[in-house]
Every structure is written in structure tokens, then in C-alpha cells.
Symmetry: C2
Subunit: 149 residues, 2 copies
Amino acid sequence: MNEQNYPEFTGLELSPRKADYLKLILEKKGTVKTTEISSCLQVDPSTTTKTLSELATAGYLNHVPYRGVDLTEMGKAYAEFLVRRHRILSLLFTHYGLSTEEACAEVSRFETFVSRDAVNKICNSMGHPMIGVCGEISHEKCFHEGHYH
Amino acid sequence: MNEQNYPEFTGLELSPRKADYLKLILEKKGTVKTTEISSCLQVDPSTTTKTLSELATAGYLNHVPYRGVDLTEMGKAYAEFLVRRHRILSLLFTHYGLSTEEACAEVSRFETFVSRDAVNKICNSMGHPMIGVCGEISHEKCFHEGHYH
DNA sequence: GAGTTTTTTTGGCATTACCCCAAATTAGTC
DNA sequence: GACTAATTTGGGGTAATGCCAAAAAAACTC
């Protein structure tokens, strides 16, 4: 029910932008409409449509044309990993003199290129912290929130 | 004579591949030939030529056609930053359960997206370590070597 | 429930970062 | 001065990302 069921993935399979879409859809919960995604990510609806169908083809989403998308089981597990990765890395950076906002912004730029393996090792090494520094990803608002390891 | 003279740069101005070229040229010292770069980076010489002229246009290199390239003062300062960034980040990751090689490889994938500001903060926070874990970047060999902060 | 409005999708096109190949050009050597 | 090896030019190609205009579907309105 979580990423343990998909031990195949490396964490590097999605492009930065596709990861943004997945994280946003997880955050919104349930079925999400094209327009909503477009306005959050600030892109043309046609861009959103195209990206969503690629994510659906790759098995992360169920896409009912004209209706919206929701995460597949795999998509949910993957999106949860993406969120965990963001939070672990952000937390890490706040231990080195970056503010929550700085860490969040910094990590958002590179997180897509950090492997699941590395994240797991860092997570272990930090003792599976339950408290992250950043609840929202790749957009703007950052707040304190509990999380899982 | 080091990056202190170019306080304008953010560390995000070069694409990943361009950063590879710059780091390689710094490492090779002096004038470097197209063929040498091509074989190190495993790309067609024509690709190298094109990239070099872009880096020259941007002010990082002096390019004498058919002769080779060498770093401008700015290019040298920038390349030194690139190396320092790689080493600081690699060192950081080895503190979280990654081996030298793993850290090196991991960092190579995302370092281009970490700002100079963040690197400086991390560097401060770590007390300006003189010993890095990785001397070579974005290629393969990693070895222990002292370095500057 | 038919017409209008809004949302979504399609198709076409553009940019940036990479990359290769073949042909032309230049440098270095005998 | 001619040959060979290195380099550059010109022409293309892909993947990721994005926009616009037009078509299609769904929603709303009266």
C-alpha cells in the first residue's frame, strides 16, 4: 500500500515537471480537474491535458477524458515517495543554515534527481524523523506538519 | 582571483552538461583540445565544438578555433565554484550513510541545481572543511584529496 | 431541452538542452 | 607542397516543456 510494494522504482523515473503534477494530484485528493491543475501549476490547460495523458499512459493516473484524473495505486505510492523525498531533503538542508523557505525552494529545484536509495539512506541515518519542515512542495507555502518515514 | 570577485553569480547559470565541460577544462589545466574533451565526456567532437563556442560566447572560455580553449578568469572562478560545490555536497551526503562513490554519483546528478548561496551556507555550517571525499567530478574516479573552502 | 458558455482536448508549432553524421576546413608533418 | 589528423560547419534528431487556435464535450440557463 506504500512504496514497499513497488521496489522496482529508483525515484528517477519522472521528469521534474511530471513529479510536480503527481505531487499536486496527491495533495488535492480524489478526482482532480484539468483547470485546477493548470491554475496551480500556472500552465495552459492544453499543456496539462498532454502531461496528464502521458502520466496516465505510464500508469500513474487514471484519466477519464473531460472528467479529470485520480492516482492509481502505483501513482499514489509514487507520489507519497515524492513528498517524503522533498520533506527529508528539506529537513536535511535546514540543519545546515538554510531557513525552512530556503531549504524548500532549494530542494524543489533538484529533488527529482535524488534517488530513492539515497533518500532511504538519509532517512535511516536521521532516525526516520516524523516532523518535516515543509508540507507543500514545488510551489510556495511551507509549513510545519508531521509526516511518516 | 576566486569567486569572491564575481558576486553576481548564483551558481545556477550553467546547464548540467556545460558545467561538466567547465570542470573538465579546469581539471586539465592550460589549453585543452577538442578531442580530449570529447573523449573524456564521450561525445562527438562536433558536439564539443558547439558547446565550447557557447561557453566562450558566455565569457567562460577563450576559444581559438582549431587550437583549443582555456578558461577566462571568470571561467576559472566559476569552475572552482563548481568543484567546491561538488565536494561540499558529496561530503555532506557521506555523513548520511552514503559511501564516497554513492555520494559522488548522487551529487553529480543534481549539483547543477544547488545555488551558490546554499553551498556557502552549508560550507559555513560545516566549518569550511578542508578535506573533501571526491576529487573528480561527473565522471568516475573518486579519491581523497584536500581542498579549499 | 435547446442554446449558450465553460472546460477540455487536439493539432500545430516553438524553445532549450542535448546529441550525431557527413562534408568542408585547417593544422601539423614529411 | 601534399597528406593526415583534428576541428568546425551545416543539417538533422529527440525529449521536455510550453503556448495558441480550433474543435469537441460537458454544464448551465431559461
